[in-house]
């Protein structure tokens, strides 16, 4: 047959994911895999997957992987990277994982300038456990644990993790992206690539925060969900580079 101009990246296994229809975890997976392919680091990459909907991502990424306890992926990645400083270690985490239970671990990985790359998928909700409030849930957003919408006075305000981590000296590259359109995906992929390059150059910690949909727990069709993200998440979570302290 003729040439493939778009094909499954090698760093993805040929396994059907368990994600819901339209879930953008799948897109983020593919972008990470494409970057791994392009940087030709598949055989020296070790992934750390979280507790969250992407808990089975070790079956999808075609690289060595460890699954970490809820929130502890940065600590697990630190353990791996310290043993194999010449390998490429990345974590893949949801908003509950990274910005609730795992707050201390990500702050300190960043503060240490740990030479790892973090892919943070912010869908403003706890996907896996069925749609409870996340630290990034928007004000007044209805979730299973904020049935009348998140009341900021009692349940708090969304954490802007990229902005927060950017205050740390060890954080060398931080960008927030979205994957709601092919154009945004291209930007997202470029950001992910920079984040891996930051690690490869030995500069320090890098994170890409990817805004993503959770159609199931938002109670929306995948297409509606992308619209909701644009209209509601973008104002609270402005896209952009929050830290770029290296010459990558």
């Amino acid at each position: 047959m003729s040439n493939k101009v778009f094909a499954r990246p090698r760093a993805l296994t040929d396994v059907a994911t368990h994600y819901c229809p339209g879930c953008q975890h799948g897109i983020v997976h593919r972008l990470v895999a494409e970057v791994i392919d392009e940087l030709d680091i598949q055989r020296k990459t070790i992934g750390v997957v979280p507790v969250g909907c992407s808990v089975l991502a070790d079956q999808y990424f075609n690289v060595d992987c460890q699954q970490a306890a809820h929130g502890r992926a940065p600590a697990v990645a630190t353990g791996i990277k310290r043993v194999h400083p010449d390998k490429v270690v990345f974590t893949y985490q949801g908003d509950g994982d990274i910005a609730a239970i795992g707050t201390a671990e990500i702050v300190h990985a960043a503060a240490r300038g740990e030479k790892i790359t973090t892919i943070f998928v912010n869908n403003a909700i706890y996907g896996m456990t069925g749609g409870q409030m996340a630290p990034t849930t928007l004000a007044n957003q209805i979730t299973a644990t904020t049935p009348k919408g998140r009341q900021e006075d009692s349940a708090g305000s969304p954490i802007q993790l990229s902005e927060m981590l950017a205050t740390l000296r060890g954080a060398k590259y931080i960008e927030r992206v979205s994957v709601n359109s092919p154009a945004q995906m291209a930007k997202a992929k470029a950001a992910i690539k920079k984040a891996f390059e930051t690690q490869l150059s030995g500069a320090g910690f890098a994170m890409v925060e990817v805004l993503a949909t959770c159609p199931t727990n938002w109670g929306k069709t995948p297409v509606e969900a992308t619209r909701w993200l644009n209209e509601n998440m973008l104002p609270q979570f402005p896209l952009g580079v929050y830290k770029n302290a290296n010459e990558v």
């Binding site: 994600y19 339209g22 975890h25 092919p182």
Partner: protein, 67 residues
Amino acid sequence: MPKPIFNQERCKGCELCFSACPKKIIAPADHFNQKGYRPAVCTDESQCIGCALCARACPDVVIEIYA
């Protein structure tokens, strides 16, 4: 001639590829796949320009594009 190939059993019928296609030539099939979704199909391959926007939009890497 460019051509999108759908791995139908992988399709979850999310419809994200429909709107991504500039030619609007993707639509749900009449039949269900094993998972119970109506898989996406190309309604008119001759119109395909091989831009791969559908493939990029697909969270499940259902679509490969041949040039």
